[in-house]
Symmetry: C2
Subunit: 244 residues, 2 copies
Amino acid sequence: MIRLFIPHDLGPGAELALDRGQSHYLASVMRQGVGDEIALFNGRDGEWRATVTAVTKRAVGLRAEAPMRPQASGPDLDLVVALVKRGRLETIVEKATELGARRVRLTVTERTNADRARPERLAAIATEAAEQTGRLDVPQVTEPLKLGKLIEGWEPGRRLLFCDEAGGAPTVLEALKAEEPGPWAILIGPEGGFSPGERQMLRALPYAVAASLGPRILRADTAAISALTLWQAALGDWTVAAAP
Amino acid sequence: MIRLFIPHDLGPGAELALDRGQSHYLASVMRQGVGDEIALFNGRDGEWRATVTAVTKRAVGLRAEAPMRPQASGPDLDLVVALVKRGRLETIVEKATELGARRVRLTVTERTNADRARPERLAAIATEAAEQTGRLDVPQVTEPLKLGKLIEGWEPGRRLLFCDEAGGAPTVLEALKAEEPGPWAILIGPEGGFSPGERQMLRALPYAVAASLGPRILRADTAAISALTLWQAALGDWTVAAAP
């Protein structure tokens, strides 16, 4: 079933008109017509079965019929990632969405060699990935913030898994063995790694846990996906098998 | 240090000339000149420090100076993956290389909606990823084979982790808890999933273990990366932290 993330409120019998982009997608790309059923979610009201009630060139009308799943979100996990080249950053946002991160926070480190992100494009990628992966929310992608600023404003009580390729750190599963679920973040550095000063600063944070991602050098997108996977398997919503 | 995978034999004082593509890369893209040092590996003789001895428009000459690392390869792990769209297949080959798969075997299942791969392009991606990730070998990417044929010719003693999104399977870490290292393969289906007949056939294989990849729907590239990561963390070379 086609899933769409929409801004409108959802409730029994709610009528809504899609914007031009989603109308085009539904009518012209997916060839949906009056009477067809799709799923809607808005990040607040759960997932609803909806019927197409009108199709014109510019707008598709829908009526919410019945709730399918109550609103829920995954674990409280942020991915903090240093800016990397556009293609890899887009991969990271797509994969973080599939792997259940609640937020993607962009950061700029000393060795970051990219300095811009396109927040609207990244938000669109997160939305499309949320529709495809079956989530009921869309992760927020925040504007880039210097690493120092980000640490200065760190939320009390949020733990940090810091992927340190300098060697000597335990594996992720070892590092998380004695840890508890709760608010967490995963930090992935730029492809050139953290500077010695950054590493020292990070290692001194009382809420940070350093961990290694194996014996090979990983690209930033691979590191992000692997770390999210291991965190979900150790402390997140992959710890219990899905219901049949 | 720049790393290059080459076909030539390596030994003390070995002199060799790069082909046009690698010569162009080294001289024009990376701006290396006579006297500069790079690392060479061929998948057989370990990693060697080499000096640039000549730079002409068409050929760069190198001399192997001293061994840096003895030949080694990672765990005996195959990734068997159903053909998917070109971009995602290329991502899978790159990531399987970074995550230490020894071979990538392409397969065609009932619901596979791509039917071609470009073996030379995939081999080039595997080579570039091996150079970047620090491996001493390049994974072989094999020609697509129908899933039935592949199972018919299955190598005795090789176990199979089969990622089954139909629900009810244990998580990957649970499924691998009682398993031993040795020859393994991970099987990732197409984006439409396996057919009921394929699932039944796979579940009946005495050497297969079914496992789930969490509660969300993953794209094929994400599923491949997550499964490789969890296998390496449970049975592979991520079980011990890298030396400092």
